[in-house]
Symmetry: C2
């Protein structure tokens, strides 16, 4: 047990968590950031080399990995911020945060645990979704897809971006979506439609993934006609949405919607005193980097008010 008292414990070192730390340090609050995986969250893991076109301030675009590098420069060597690579297993009332090996105490806790790719739960998925056996949830190493036949599943930005990302590398790309139109950015859907080796199949679902040691074929269902079809493919990318990382706060009593996203007020406060939530774990958060960053800024101000109680605390809420 660690008896040190932190002003703020940030659970999660993704964009929103790091921004919260940047802003709390700026306000001279003693801040601990805990991250069990990679620093930088989804932009660092799911799309490190993707150019983010609309982060204001980078008109030529910026890659996820470069943004993460910049955020880390904000907090590293900052005397108010301590960063530890430890997986949080439980957050308890009273500012207690338990990791696999330690227990930390904070005056406030910020939940910045974000989301992870959702599994589809179909036959074959669990068999092949590890050790490069052919099922992926995002593209990190593009070179693995060279000259492959690739099936992308999903209709949102992640799916469409994955297809476009591989267009020059893969031999043939199939993208299927269960609905009759995509929800991704119009501009990118258009690019996809104009591309020569992307085959678009709407109203189509993935039923099964088959193969011996690795993915060999998939079974597709047209949900309008009921027709089934077997397609030979080398790789499958499942981009069917994200689910919230809720495991560490299920017993804390924070209000969530029925999918597990945390409900906050417009100041990032949860219903539990001293507990805040920022970034993609927040209901209705839009999953945009710039929004997560703003959450961090807002939360830090309210944390400052909560801890330091200046005369102007809550003035903006009148």
């Amino acid at each position: 047990m660690n008896e040190e008292m932190w002003d703020v414990i940030v659970v999660g070192g993704g964009p929103a968590g790091l921004t919260t730390a940047i802003m709390c340090a700026n306000r001279m609050l003693k801040t601990l950031v805990l991250e069990g995986g990679k620093w930088g969250g989804l932009p660092a893991t799911m799309y490190p080399n993707k150019v983010i076109p609309n982060y204001p301030g980078f008109p030529e675009g910026i890659t996820g990995i470069e943004l993460v590098r910049r955020w880390l420069r904000h907090v590293r060597d900052n005397p108010y911020v301590t960063m530890k690579r430890e997986r949080v297993v439980k957050i308890e009332k009273g500012g207690i945060v338990k990791t696999e090996d330690n227990e930390y105490h904070g005056k406030t806790v910020v939940i910045a645990t974000g989301t992870r790719p959702r599994e589809l739960g179909i036959p074959g998925e669990a068999m092949f979704n590890r050790a490069d056996k052919g099922v992926y949830y995002y593209v990190t190493h593009r070179e693995k897809f060279i000259d492959n036949v690739v099936l992308v599943v999903g209709g949102g930005d992640t799916a469409v971006d994955a297809a476009l990302d591989l267009v020059d590398l893969a031999r043939e790309i199939y993208i299927i979506h269960r609905r009759d139109r995509f929800r991704a950015m119009d501009e990118n859907v258009k690019k996809m439609e104009e591309s020569k080796n992307i085959n678009i199949m709407l109203n189509t679902e993935l039923e099964e993934i088959r193969g011996k040691d690795k993915v060999e074929e998939v079974v597709l269902l047209n949900n309008k006609t009921g027709e089934k079809k077997v397609l030979k493919v080398d790789k499958v990318i499942l981009a069917v949405g994200l689910k919230p990382n809720t495991e560490m706060f299920t017993e804390l009593g924070v209000k969530t919607d029925d999918r597990g996203f945390i409900i906050t007020d417009s100041y990032q406060r949860t219903n539990v005193e001293g507990v805040f939530a920022v970034g993609d774990i927040v209901k209705g958060a839009f999953r945009l980097l710039i929004v997560g960053a703003a959450h961090g800024a807002i939360a830090s101000q309210k944390i400052y008010e909560y801890i330091r109680k200046p005369y102007w605390a809550g003035e903006d809420e009148k």
Copy 2:
């Protein structure tokens, strides 16, 4: 009259207005941005050379003017964005926006009019607040203050930043605040206290500014003791807060608080259909660049949903 129909008319070319345009362009919405003054809003006018320490992505800090330059690069030459230097005089229901010379029609309107420095309303202020006669609301040209005796009025970040900004240039700086402690960032208050030529006077108010052709002296009141004091000064900087730019939407019927800040839902929608508000004009907006930028991102998504009506519109609000 101009019969062209815009998807979005953004009123105001400050940070939040420009970000809204960046994000709307990204969604292929035909966007008109109207600005009567300088592009870039307060960071461009009030603190062009101030280093902003906490805009995530710029760990070494970035000046207001450089951020504005980068935002403008996002939108200039973008086929979806048209920028016009015209002062908006009235916004009417049905997406009608009137400037001094023209009338524009939009499917949606985004109010991004921001704030401007508040006047104190004391004797002498109106006489000297123009043509470099000695009363300022912010510091732009620091060289004007070389070897001067300067009075700064205010207790927030703008006041403290102004004092710190001049510390090496002015002969003597007095900073007065009507309360018994500052509300600016602790770190900067500390810097100010440690500085040799900044004199801090709390519980002190400015009653009058005197002089012939330019500022010569000020009358100060200690609001605890009732004692008055005349001080010889060359310049006065009034940093006593900001007030919302509301003139162009008083008759539109958007709900505001009693100071004029617009009340929106968490998706930047006002109570008037098709009218959104972003940035510092929004009640409780924290006046941070990163928050204004996030407003732009959020508004653009809801504008897209409002105009294009995709099947997933409003899904995140459930």
